[in-house]
């Protein structure tokens, strides 16, 4: 048997069910490796002792009917976990210990999963490189001083470095798919309304979705099956018949129609991304898919739309951090003075920038020109996809316009940082499911991903296409453990 930490989730479950390994052995292996990997800075809060205890409890009274029997899992620190500190990567929540559990994580524990720890992320999930976290940069295990992507950067780093068998992230504009692409892993953003937002620290409520991140497509299908559920506690949770994603997973995609949107050939896109995309099209054909050219005419308006809608919603959501009910409080002479100092000291630069943009576009006299305009353009972007889906079953694009960049390379230029999300943002605006799978490397040997976008609630087709292509691509991460002593 391979080293425990390099096994897939599927293999771990199989070994535990066949009693070849115990939950406690698995937990120990991931904890040992995590202890040796502090240089990656993937964890914000460790839950190791408790994890060992719970794994022993599982082994004493195992239930092999569960979908994640005794599997240790670290999660993004944006999910509220009962009695375990939840920071959202922010100083303002540095000491926040929730007294309730997010629905998505509760679903994982209900199926036998055990919390390993909370993973670093950009502050309030605002960022594409994990550089906005109050708890510092995260290293990409692919190479030293390379960003792991963001905002789910601790998640992608921990996953690629084998510190957790699978993980969950959240994706508002690409925060699952872009870090997956940067670390050679798989990341799936489900349809808006599939996974409950209850207990997830809110960023932009009309865009936020939780989703699985894993080493391969099958593992994502297993985890999606666990976390996707209708939840009364989330007013935009949707009650639809969910598939048994893992047992319905198939490589038979013969005759499936895959669209190639010409507008995703953006100016200045590196040649290697274009080559990767062409290779992806060939792989899809080899799998039996039919390739059809399509047009999504409003693609270039997606990012400007996103940078109105997301900050507007963020400015409203983050109004709750006032130093009264929880979180950091700075002292002030009056109530207003206390609010202003608390928020000034508690939030980082990027978060303040977005609150300011959001407050501006919602302020009197500017609402129609910016926010209403953006909502109208969002409608046009969604209609583009609706029309495309009259002709095709799914859409294939690159995941990101480049591979992972160096820490510090883009942190002084917000607009160039925002351009990272050019291929992922339209999917959030239209509420669609999208997956990023590793598909090759660039000249530096850094991973590059391809994105498959599906129809609303058709995660199964997205997973099936990804599963088929994954076999043809046969990508292998080459990680040298350079960060260990």
């Amino acid at each position: 048997m391979n080293e425990i930490t390099s096994l897939s989730l599927f293999e771990l479950i199989k070994n535990i069910k066949e009693k070849k390994i115990s939950s406690n052995e698995v937990a120990k292996s991931f904890i040992d490796r995590s202890e040796k990997s502090k240089k990656l800075n993937a964890y914000v809060t460790e839950n190791f002792e408790n994890c060992l205890k719970l794994s022993k409890e599982f082994d004493n009274k195992p239930n092999f009917d569960l979908k994640l029997p005794g599997i240790p899992i670290a999660v993004k620190d944006l999910f509220c976990t009962n009695e375990v500190r939840t920071t959202a990567g922010s100083n303002i929540l540095n000491n926040f210990v929730p007294s309730y559990e997010s629905t998505v994580t509760q679903n994982i524990w209900n199926e036998g999963g055990i919390l390993l720890g909370k993973l670093n992320c950009d502050e309030f999930a605002m960022g594409s490189s994990n550089e906005t976290s109050f708890f510092g940069n995260v290293q990409n295990p692919i190479a030293k001083d390379l960003v792991p992507g963001g905002s789910s950067g601790g998640s992608s780093s921990a996953l690629a470095a084998n510190l957790t068998p699978v993980t969950i992230g959240t994706d508002t504009g690409g925060s699952i798919r872009q870090p997956a692409s940067f670390t050679g892993t798989v990341g799936l953003k489900p349809t808006y309304g599939s996974c409950s937002r209850y207990g997830i620290v809110a960023f932009a409520s009309s865009l936020d979705q939780a989703g699985p991140m894993s080493k391969d497509v099958k593992d994502s299908s297993i985890l999606l099956e666990v976390i996707s559920s209708f939840d009364k506690k989330d007013s935009t949770s949707i009650d639809f018949q969910r598939n048994n994603y893992s047992s319905e997973l198939t490589r038979n995609i013969k005759g499936i129609k895959i669209g190639i949107p010409k507008e995703y050939r953006v100016d200045g896109m590196p040649g290697e991304i274009e080559i990767l995309w062409k290779k992806g099209i060939e792989y899809a054909k080899d799998c039996g898919a039919e390739i059809i050219d399509i047009s999504l005419p409003h693609t270039s308006y997606a990012l400007p739309t996103y940078y109105i809608v997301a900050p507007a919603e963020a400015s409203s959501n983050l109004a709750r951090y006032d130093g009264v009910k929880y979180g950091l409080r700075s002292s002030g002479e009056s109530l207003i003075d206390m609010y202003e100092k608390t928020r000034s000291e508690g939030f980082g630069e990027e978060v303040k920038r977005r609150i300011m943009i959001g407050t501006y576009v919602l302020s009197s006299g500017y609402y129609d020109a910016y926010y209403l305009k953006a909502q109208k353009v969002r409608q046009l972007i969604k209609k583009d996809f609706d029309e495309a889906y009259n002709k095709v079953d799914a859409i294939l694009t690159p995941s990101t316009p480049s591979s992972a960049f160096k820490i510090g390379e883009k942190s002084n230029d917000p607009v160039s940082m925002y351009l990272n999300d050019i291929f992922t943002v339209p999917v959030n605006l239209a509420g669609l499911p999208g997956i990023s799978i590793p598909a090759g490397t660039d000249k530096n040997n850094y991973p590059l991903g391809l994105q498959i976008i599906g129809k609303p609630f058709d995660e199964q087709t997205v997973l099936n296409i990804a599963y088929s292509m994954e076999e043809k691509i046969n990508y292998k991460n080459n990680i040298t453990d350079w960060w260990m002593e």
Partner: protein, 95 residues
């Protein structure tokens, strides 16, 4: 359109974030470059387009107005930076 220092200060008041002058200047620069990028939306005519307010095509659900949690006062007060037995404590508001 340019966002000047006065506007940045006004917005920071609305957002309840105190700003030093230096930081306000940097923010004005950043906001201007972001809004330059956002202005692209003006290329599109959208007079007859319905705004998309929610992607989930459902109307909000009604529920019975009944209490579902037990007495959780302590739990709620637990994370407060300053509290007394039953209340959140804030700087004096009324003279």
């Amino acid at each position: 359109m340019t966002i000047d220092l006065k506007t940045v200060k006004h917005i920071s008041k609305l957002a309840r974030i105190s700003l030093e002058v230096k930081k306000a200047e940097k923010l004005a620069d950043d906001m201007n470059s972001i809004f330059e990028f956002i202005e692209k939306l003006n290329e599109l005519k959208t007079d007859n387009v319905e705004p998309l307010t929610s992607i989930a095509e459902t109307t909000l659900r009604f529920r019975e107005d009944k209490i579902t949690s037990d007495n959780i006062r302590e739990k709620i007060l637990k994370n407060s930076p300053e509290k007394n037995d039953d209340f959140f404590v804030v700087p004096k508001v009324v003279e």
